[in-house]
């Protein structure tokens, strides 16, 4: 079975280590992520201004393209793209006035009314494949790995686009369990990584990383599981700054959830592109005998 798939720009450059293991893993699980033949940037951030409809055009155009492919469900992998596309979709579904304005502006495209369902890959794993099936397909369980699930903001907020409970999500915990690892809950699971503030305050970003990573560490995690390239950038950058400025700071590997899945499914480590990760993710994997 093939699923219409929207990668997003970052996954084609800096975050190939998020995308490539995902596509390979889903193939190993018997599902094909079929990249849309035409797509544009999702907008990179959902515009919060109420009268800023021009910034809904980019995400909506992608949703029109999904319908052109004869599909009604779109799988996303980047947490920010998910958020942007899904929120724009709700505007088109629920707000008649804005729907008309966007449709009449984009009059070279067919009218769109929010018909496409936008989902995240984690939801495909939970709802289409199921944790039990995923667990049964694992060839190289991540035994004894203590992994902290980090959601960041955009998978869980705002509530009407959240893929799980905002206050007590379990989707990453169940994912980690299915891979045979030990989930380590910690209170900063959804604390903001600093987001785009890294642009205006590159140094200030380290403090966000300190709070999140030391919390995970003090709860016994050996590594953080991420879903978002922006979280990866901010935490990775913050962590390398902290290592320079603070002797007591202990760093930890940051993994995309898809890298861990590919590894656990027994796929070759080269598909995981660990060379694109911040810091040194491979020592821990060697220690756990998951890499030779």
């Amino acid at each position: 079975m093939s699923l219409a798939y929207y990668p997003g720009c970052t996954l084609k450059t800096k975050a190939r280590n998020l995308e490539e293991p995902a596509v390979a893993s889903l193939q190993a699980l018997g599902l094909e992520l079929e990249e849309m033949s035409r797509w544009n940037c999702c907008g990179a951030a959902y515009s919060l201004a109420d009268d800023d409809l021009i910034h809904q055009v980019a995400p909506v155009r992608n949703l029109v393209r999904v319908q052109e492919l004869g599909k009604n469900r779109l799988v996303t992998l980047c947490a920010v793209c998910l958020n942007t596309l899904k929120r724009a979709n709700l505007v088109m579904r629920d707000d008649g006035e804005k729907r008309n304005a966007v449709n009449s502006f984009m009059n070279e495209e067919p009218d769109y009314g929010g018909e496409v369902e936008v989902v995240h890959l984690l939801e495909v794993l939970r709802d289409d494949i199921g944790w039990q099936t995923l667990a049964e397909r694992i060839k190289r369980p991540l035994r004894d790995m203590r992994l902290a699930p980090y959601y960041g903001c955009t998978l869980l907020r705002p509530r009407d686009v959240a893929i799980d409970s905002e206050q007590s999500p379990t989707i990453l915990r169940k994912f980690i369990e299915a891979l045979g690892a030990i989930p380590v809950d910690f209170p900063e699971f959804a604390r903001c990584c600093g987001s785009y503030q890294v642009m205006s305050d590159p140094d200030g970003i380290s403090e966000y990383a300190r709070v999140i990573l030391s919390s995970a560490s003090s709860h016994g995690a050996e590594a953080l599981v991420l879903t978002c390239p922006l979280c990866d950038y901010d935490l990775g950058r913050g962590q390398s700054e902290l290592l320079k400025s603070d002797k007591d700071f202990r760093s930890m590997p940051l993994f995309y959830f898809t890298q861990l899945m590919a590894l656990a499914l027994g796929l070759g480590p080269e598909i995981c592109h660990f060379e694109l990760n911040h810091g040194d993710p491979e020592s821990l994997l060697r220690e756990k005998k998951l890499l030779s």
Binding site: C9, T13, N40, C41, G43, V57, R61, F105, E108
Partner: protein
Amino acid sequence: MSVKEEKQSQPQTGAEEPEGNSPGLIPVYVMGKRYEVPEGLTIMKAMEYAGYRFIRGCGCRGGTCGACGTVYRKPGDYKIQVALACQKTVEPDMYIAQMPFFPVNRAAYEFNELTSAPEDVFKLYPELFRCVACNACSKACPQGVEVMDAIAALKRGDISEAARLSFECIQCGLCTSRCFGELAQYHMFQLARRMYGARIVPRAEHLTDMVKVVNEGKYEDILEQLKGMKEEKLKKLYQEREAEPVSAGEDWTPKDKTYL
């Protein structure tokens, strides 16, 4: 605007003209002024008929140089249309304005210092990320290039796709004139095609090999022989050559492989 209006050569209105075999005259508006011009002319010829003389905004007159980008509108339609003045024939009541040049940012670079990584494009043209996918650019392209899709490809670092999608671009600049992100699409595409051609497309190794063979003199003797041959003998040789059959497949080769 560098076209010059020559008032003394303005044509008379066509209402009283004898019909005969001459084509009818139709009204068009050039920069808001009404002229009657023969139907069937291109916009460029019609403007010349009306007395304009092009010293800019006109190049090859064959639809390939991109110098004569033109915008027009027709009565009863709010849509702005685009054309190349040398290609599009006039229609009654067209409102026409030429756009021979549009001032945009063209980044300066030393090509050999670029690595052809996506980041090179991002650094030279950071305004790339001002695109909101409004698609005004694609609608303004007289070549039918999917300009917005090519910009989307550049944003995700796919230089090959941007080069492929923009292959038909003739750099007229109409896309740029319509862009509210103020992107210089056609300059970005030219950079992408340069990068693609120089660094991404696979090199044709067999061409290098063949040039080496030629330089080593494989064909010198036969060329000298041919040069010295009498015309009759040369004709005979040509007529008796082993020609490739019309239905030959890709792997057809002649029996005599001396000069392959």
